[in-house]
């Protein structure tokens, strides 16, 4: 067990190192000279050669690329993500400022998806092949196919513009949270419903369920104490791994609803060609995602002793 955890930790270090490389090279994807692009973003169209050179020097862009990377890495290791090349705000500060909004949206969506998916999946599995089951399966198939940016627009159209019940953008109150969380949560619920259903079906076939029935336990106890408890383990693990989906999904949903989170920060920084901010955001999101996956894996290993530790994948 400890071996397994140690190995995972070692691997994640390698991966994070790779992630820093990828994040750093983002800057060199953009066509043109980075110094010129930054100067352009800062001072606008009418640039002098001196301004560009000044930027090059100030941002350390005159050094060879690998030196730039090592410099950047050294700062990142000291938790210094640098400053936005446009607004000169501290990047890590900005990210941490935006994080609560994203976390709030992600958790609300996760919660919403679970309270839709678990009852739906369980009911569906208990009445397998019934009309209700078919409806659930079909709805969840439909749900995975609806792009969340479209769903978000439809929700705005219906609830905000037509019924005028809820605000279409903004941040702060519970009312503002409803539509974004619904957008993100329902598409997630579609996947989770299917998983709950198949997990329940799997568990209900097990011998200990037959044994429990043979003992004469009442159906309620069997379902809740024996079936649901075991069936929910993969569902909750999956929910944990959905953080990645949520972090990705928030990019789009936050943009639609003008939600001041990490995803919107990333999109805005891409548009602004604020390279340092893009690097910081991407790195932060990837590390957050990697660590949360690691936590889920370890938690799973602890919760389910049947898991084998000798293989990492």
């Amino acid at each position: 067990m400890w071996n397994y955890i140690a190995k995972r930790l070692l691997l994640i270090l390698v991966v994070i190192f790779g992630v820093t490389l990828v994040s750093f090279s983002a800057m060199y994807l953009a066509p043109g000279d980075p110094a010129e692009v930054i100067a352009f973003a800062r001072y606008g169209q009418d640039l002098s050669a001196e301004q560009i050179e000044a930027v090059r020097e100030a941002e350390g862009l005159d050094a060879p690329v690998y030196i730039q990377y090592l410099n950047w890495l050294e700062h990142v290791l000291h938790l210094d993500f640098g400053k936005s090349v446009i607004s000169s705000d501290d990047i890590l500060e900005e990210i941490l400022l935006r994080l609560p909004a994203t976390a709030e949206l992600a958790l609300a969506s996760l919660f919403l998806s679970l309270i839709i998916a678990i009852p739906a999946g369980v009911l569906s599995s208990l009445k397998q092949n019934s009309l209700l089951d078919n409806a659930c399966v079909f709805t969840s198939l439909l749900g995975v196919s609806i792009p969340n940016f479209w769903l978000g627009l439809l929700l705005i159209w219906f609830f905000a513009l037509t019924l005028r019940m809820l605000p279409s953008f903004g941040y702060g109150s519970l009312e503002n949270l409803v539509l974004p969380a619904l957008t993100l949560g329902t598409s997630m619920a579609a996947v989770t419903t299917r998983l709950t259903r198949s997990s329940m079906l799997e568990v209900l076939k097990q011998e200990y369920i037959v044994a429990a029935r043979a003992k004469g336990l009442d159906e309620r106890t069997i379902l809740i104490r024996h079936a649901l408890k075991n069936a929910l383990l993969p569902v909750l693990t999956f929910a944990g791994m959905q953080l990645g989906y949520l972090l990705g999904g928030t990019v789009i949903v936050e943009t639609i609803f003008a939600w001041p989170g990490l995803g919107k920060l990333l999109v805005d920084s891409i548009f602004a060609r604020d390279f340092a901010l893009v690097q910081g955001c991407v790195l932060f999101i990837a590390i957050l995602f990697s660590l949360s996956n690691l936590a889920v894996d370890i938690l799973y290993a602890v919760l389910d002793p049947r898991i084998r530790y000798d293989k990492h994948d």
Binding site: L11, V14, V15, I16, G18, V19, L21, V22, A26, M27, L29, A30, P31, Q128, N129, N134, L141, L142, V144, S145, I146, P147, F149, W150, L153, L154, I156, W157, L161, L243, G244, Y245, L247, G248, G249, V251, I252, T255, L266, V267, I270, F271, R273, V278, V282, I285, A286, F289, S290, D313
Partner: protein, 284 residues
């Protein structure tokens, strides 16, 4: 159907799959014959006919520049299916080959490839594609490039896992005992046995890629107007959501139908392969 014990559940699943395949054929038809199907030029602007509701002349109405939304939606199938097919072809071939080599050879090569996979997959969902496409600059080829660079690891991981278990099977041992070369074993024994799952994954991946591409365009980092593309059409419709919702409804509906078609087909394939029905047909 060759299965004799087709129960209702499998039947229903297959019916959805059949529906998916029909829908895909229909979309391919739209893409191929777009010039004959569209009643108008998708780029032609008629500024005196802006934001018209659906009518006989304009089945899906007109957009903010007086262009025919129906024609734009029809032409949009070319872009979306094109991106989907291109990206999935490129990534499934590259990803599968890497997976076979990695799983079969093992050792340092495997270690390096798998860490590469881990690194790309450490960026959740659309994030990496967003950054690549966003910084490279918008346009068809950059969207294809961004999605290709980020989608290959799914195949590599799947195929490698299968190769690891195939490697230990008796027929591979037998081939090795007969002194078959590694290349021969990989080509004749390993690769064909992985293809089924690659086909299933590839079908589902087309759905993913199409959503991702539309999302990039929706954010303004993918295909740009005036090219008729569903995601960018949605973006253009936002300011008119209240007064002219048809700008938003129809392109979104098309994305959903397309994604659904590939999801149904892929799901049906998986279902068939799980139950062992029509194994030979699926591999082809």
């Amino acid at each position: 159907m060759t299965g004799k014990r087709l129960n209702t559940r499998e039947f229903r699943k297959n019916r959805l799959a059949v529906f998916g395949v029909l829908l895909i054929s229909f979309l391919a038809f739209l893409a191929l014959f777009a010039p004959f199907i569209s009643p108008h030029d998708p780029l032609e602007q008629k500024l005196d006919r802006r934001l018209e509701a659906p009518s006989f002349e304009y089945p899906f109405g007109t957009d903010d520049l007086g262009r025919c939304i129906f024609s734009r939606v029809v032409y949009g199938t070319r872009v979306s299916l094109g991106i989907g097919v291109l990206v999935v072809t490129a990534t499934s071939i590259a990803g599968t080959l890497l997976g076979v080599l990695s799983g079969y050879r093992g050792g340092m090569f495997d270690e390096i490839v798998m860490r590469g996979v881990d690194i790309v997959l450490a960026f959740p969902n659309i994030i990496l594609a967003l950054v690549i496409a966003g910084l490279l600059g918008s346009g068809f080829s950059n969207v294809v490039l961004a999605l290709s660079l980020t989608q290959w690891p799914v195949y590599t991981r799947l195929v490698r896992g299968q190769v690891l278990s195939l490697k230990k099977r008796a027929f591979v041992e037998a081939a090795r005992a007969l002194r078959a070369s590694n290349f021969y074993i990989m080509r004749r024994h390993i690769l064909p046995n992985c293809l089924e799952s690659v086909v299933v994954l590839g079908t589902l991946e087309i759905a993913h890629v199409i959503i991702f591409a539309a999302a990039l365009s929706f954010l303004g980092l993918g295909i740009q107007p005036p090219t008729p593309e569903w995601g960018s059409m949605l973006k253009a419709g936002i300011p008119y959501l209240r007064s002219a919702p048809h700008l938003t409804i129809f392109p979104g509906l098309m994305i959903m139908l397309t994604v659904m078609a590939f999801n149904f087909a892929g799901d049906g394939l998986r279902e068939c392969l799980d139950t062992g029905i029509e194994r030979d047909v699926m591999a082809g």
